[in-house]
Symmetry: C2
């Protein structure tokens, strides 16, 4: 139960060589007698030696580490994004250190968390937060390659990868139209409420209108949040208007609508078709059978890592770092909650 963490010197002493040799063996450098090499290996494992990444980073000026900041790992959206980042990063030889806030964190804390990442001298930064203003990210982006992931962002000073909200909303609307719906209620949100939910919901309404569908927009802000009763009013309105489909901006809203229907002894899609949006997590499984739009967070994560690493390489090669904004397409999730009218 040695409290003291072994250093390279301990390994060297145990193997009866100098620390230089140990370093060479451990980094896989050539020019060490195979007998010596084995002695060193043995000594290292016996001691349970793990190299001090900080000391390595100091001299190597490389940490092989990406910093990921996610607003709240407890939400499926960020959780999946985080996992995708992790997976891709380790595939291309980077480790990931994560700083996560929580829903209750003030933005000032998010800023501090970002600084933590920078203080760790991560080589690249992936910022996933719908709340953190880009102004807070910019100064860091000037120093370390940065990509904002998961939200639309168009500052030319950094790269971004996000889901195509507009395209997704339109495509889902087309699906609803193709099913034959001609009277549809769309639950819309304003940009001030959400930078992601707003564009997708307005895109749905706009596309439906283009297709000649009778559309009624109901603003979520006029009702009580995503609570059951708030959406209940929306469902009531939809039924009163003789609409055959209700399009919502997220799976949570959709589930709330389904419950509101059930509370009235009705169900989807028989009495009213219902669509969601997100396609992530438990709500999107085959269990509920939601008709929705799946955001490819694995792709977003992978591309985000791709962008940072490219920027890192470019900077290392002293080449010009080009920033890009990439919108990725989602895919239709055909479920059982939306059918023919």
């Amino acid at each position: 139960m040695s409290a003291a963490v072994p250093t390279i010197l301990d390994v060297a002493a145990r193997a009866g060589v100098s620390k230089s040799v140990v370093s060479r063996v451990l980094t896989g450098a050539p020019g060490v007698a195979s007998a010596t090499r084995e002695r060193v290996q043995a000594a290292a494992t016996e001691l349970g030696y793990v190299a001090n990444a900080m000391a390595q980073g100091m001299v190597a000026r490389r940490t092989h580490t990406l910093g990921a900041f996610v607003r709240d790992a407890a939400t499926p959206f960020y959780g999946h994004l985080l996992t995708a980042l992790q997976e891709r990063a380790s595939a291309v030889g980077y480790r990931v250190v994560t700083a996560t806030g929580s829903g209750t964190f003030p933005v000032s804390e998010e800023r501090r968390a970002l600084e933590t990442l920078v203080s760790l001298r991560v080589e690249g930064l992936v910022v996933c937060s719908g709340a953190l203003p880009v102004e807070d990210v910019l100064p860091l982006a000037a120093r370390v390659p940065t990509v904002v992931a998961g939200r639309p962002e168009r500052s030319p000073a950094l790269s971004s990868v996000y889901c195509d909200e507009h395209g997704g909303g339109r495509a889902l609307a087309e699906h609803v139209h193709a099913l034959g719906h001609r009277r549809v209620v769309v639950l819309t949100l304003e940009p001030t409420t959400s930078l992601t939910l707003s564009p997708r919901s307005h895109a749905m309404a706009a596309r439906l209108r283009e297709l000649g569908v009778h559309v009624t927009q109901l603003r979520a802000e006029d009702h009580r949040d995503a609570r059951l009763d708030g959406v209940g009013e929306v469902v009531e309105s939809a039924l009163a208007e003789r609409a055959t489909c209700l399009m919502t901006a997220s799976d949570r809203y959709a589930v709330a609508a389904l419950e509101a229907l059930r509370a009235r002894g009705l169900s989807a899609p028989e009495d009213l078709s219902v669509t969601g949006y997100d396609g992530i997590g438990d709500l999107a499984g085959p269990l509920l059978g939601l008709t929705s739009w799946r955001q490819p967070l694995d792709v977003v994560g992978a591309l985000a890592v791709e962008e940072v690493t490219a920027a890192i390489d470019a900077r290392a090669a002293d080449a010009e770092v080009v920033t890009r904004h990439r919108a990725v397409d989602g895919s239709l999730l055909v479920g059982r909650t939306a059918g023919r009218p």
Copy 2:
């Protein structure tokens, strides 16, 4: 757009002092003329100076960092746990670096991720993984204070904080009994399938029997996973036996059961009461109204941080480090899916 990261020397040069003075100012040490202090502050912010945590850690031999390892941040369970850890840790002055695997990671990768954390010289380790064998954690635990969070663990060499599966299962069973159910089907799992789902499900069945309830155990292993059709068979059996309630080991199973009911034109709790377990994430919201058992992951996270930091302090004070195993109680989530028979 300076690619070069400013060091303490840059700040010193800009302020026209030596780096010692800068260090004192930034660490808040006394004995600096206030005029000088301000000059240094100004220089630091102008340069956007962020201290190199690695260099600091090397000399201070303290990193003020906790390492959290979570098996898969994409699942609500681990996501919430991670957030809880983060929240508590930053409240007590520690930063958290996280390494997360993903559902598809082999255990060898988990081991590597843990080493990454150790190489970063975190002062304490919180391990959240139902999959990683304790043997892989033990060697690290000997070196850095470690606590296993979120799964029952009784190795005396480290501390653990987890949910009381046994007590939860019993309490939920008592609720079902109190509702008046006398014929109940319990969907059980074996320990080889899951270290958490198994004990809770068996505790439910045992407690019900103690209370004189007629219990039929159906092994999940005998059916096709948690898929809709697999649980469909279970629901069929329950109805055929004229059971009034179906207890499952997780909210996912419960939702599957609800859907199976719906597919047959039936519903809960009218035709069959259904209970879940977990109480985390979207499935547990008021939307679905699941009757379930809520695992207090925020408490688990907070206690886990409390345990590690206590161990860190003890070790620093050269006192004896006591390991503890703490089971925390959950709470009943009264929903709409279980009613009187």
